[in-house]
């Protein structure tokens, strides 16, 4: 199920879910982590006029070179935390994409390559469902080389409010642990 993923350049990452699930913050954390890894990054966000609910999308392009087009067309790495976002975005991926989908989403037309993981359920076990975004980022860090784990940790420390720092660091670790160690990337 977990094939070794070799990251293309540019690496196009799309996070999606509902407003309020920390989709935009998740993108910022990935962008910051990739920046710590010494790469060029562009982060864009797209959301409806509602402050909560409504669908939300956040994209990061990572490259060793300057980035021309800032948005993602076919994602190489896809994270999805809500059914609505799943229907909207799960097909706009590149052929060898790593797609991590929350397993509470009912996917009737899913691709065989999609990896369903208990992101929200793991976050609930940490007593904070809001950390499902970071659980997902942990899983992506393990599966898809999006950034060095230590850089993701540093980015979380930089961007998450102090009172939520610990629970988010635990969410990162829990996310990394959702992925079999054979699939873990080096470094």
């Amino acid at each position: 199920m977990y094939e070794e993923f070799s990251a293309p350049d540019p690496l196009c990452i799309r996070l999606s879910g509902r407003g309020g699930q920390g989709i935009i913050l998740g993108g910022v954390i990935i962008a910051q982590a990739a920046m710590y890894d010494g790469l060029f990054v562009v982060h864009t966000q797209s959301y409806g006029p509602e402050a909560r609910l409504g669908s939300s999308k956040s994209e990061v392009v990572v490259s060793r070179f300057e980035i021309a087009f800032p948005e993602v067309i076919h994602a190489d790495v896809f994270l999805c935390l809500s059914s609505e976002a799943y229907l909207k975005y799960h097909k706009a991926i590149s052929p060898r994409a790593v797609s991590v989908i929350d397993d509470l989403i009912v996917a009737e037309d899913g691709f065989p390559s999609e990896i369903f993981l208990p992101l929200r359920r793991t976050a609930r076990n940490l007593d904070n469902e809001m950390t499902a975004n970071i659980v997902g980022i942990g899983a992506l860090t393990g599966l898809a080389h999006i950034a060095q784990p230590v850089s993701v940790e540093k980015a979380i420390r930089e961007w998450v409010k102090p009172e939520f720092r610990d629970v988010n660091l635990r969410a990162l670790e829990a996310g990394l642990n959702l992925v079999p160690h054979s699939a873990m990337t080096s470094g």
Binding site: V28, A31, F40, V41, V42, H43, P49, A68, F69, P70
Partner: protein, 383 residues
Amino acid sequence: MRLVQGNEAAVMGALAGGCNFYAGYPITPATEIMEQMSRILPSRGAVFIQMEDELAALGAVIGAAWGGMRAMTATSGPGFSLMQEHIGYAAMTQTPCVVIDSQRVGPSTGQPTMPAQGDVMQARWGSHGDRAAIVLTASSVKDVFDVTRLAFEWAQDYRLPVIVLLDAVLSHMRENVELPPVPDPIARKPVAVREDQPAFGSHPFIPFSGSTRTIVSGLSHDERGMTRGAIGQDAEQIIRNQLAEVDRDYKRIVQFRRYRLDDATWAIVAYGITARAARAAVNSLRESGLRVGLLELVTLWPFPEQTIHELAASVQGILMPELNLGQMIWPLKASVAGLAPVSSMGRADGELFRPEEIVQTINRLDHRNAAISSVIGGGKHHA
């Protein structure tokens, strides 16, 4: 190196340009500019005011400028529409100020969170009457910093409201950039005022304070600010002076970037966020062997007529993609003046053009040209 959002870069650029007064009314996608100004300006001994609406916001900015402040506001389409009256007033009263408009889909409330480039004509012609205008745009977070800083400099130099056009994607986009540290507030020395120095016309801007009495009017006025009934040439003279000053510094003000244009047989002319897709399209078309280049406009107004005219003479066609249903295509066509065929791509659905769409359009145009030149023989078509 920091991860910086477009709107944050606008704030830093404004501070680097000496901004010490902000009045505004929040609106998506420009709100972060106001939010950050509300935190930063008071701590620098500068002034931040949230006004009751956008009319009042630009009114306060104009008043602050008269008092010698480097003043700005930021808004989006609906607020920019409301500001048009005061943009004309700032022009007639020769008041330096900066207005940022982060464009979203319009008209009216439109799509608050989605990008557009639909205010490019409004930024030039939105208020009634003629006036000189400087309108800048940006395609990267670093650009946003640079043009906002420049806007403050040029507002002072030319005594004009200078407009910076961003869009919803750029305002919210984050890139890793190296920005210079924000300079400490500068205690500016007051401009020396002679008793007989006229307040208007081609003179440096003098803050309205101290012992000088200055009459300000949106009515036509002479150089002392005196309104004279039914004498239209006063107004025309003020506008002509401003136009002449901007015209004289055309080379300084009209900024653009040439990207892989030197041997190009096709040119894309684009501005703002659309230039990013165009650059990616140029790279991909070059890989397929087609010699395509990009002219990215940084200054939209004054329009780079000469540059476009010269470009048109060297290519077999020009394509302009823009996030509206065809606006800057008109000054482009006028500048090309028939020297090359011009094609327009427009959209106003809140999505960016994808590089692939621009690639396909250029390929289609190129095939059509190839077909035509094989019929008539020769032509400018590349081998």
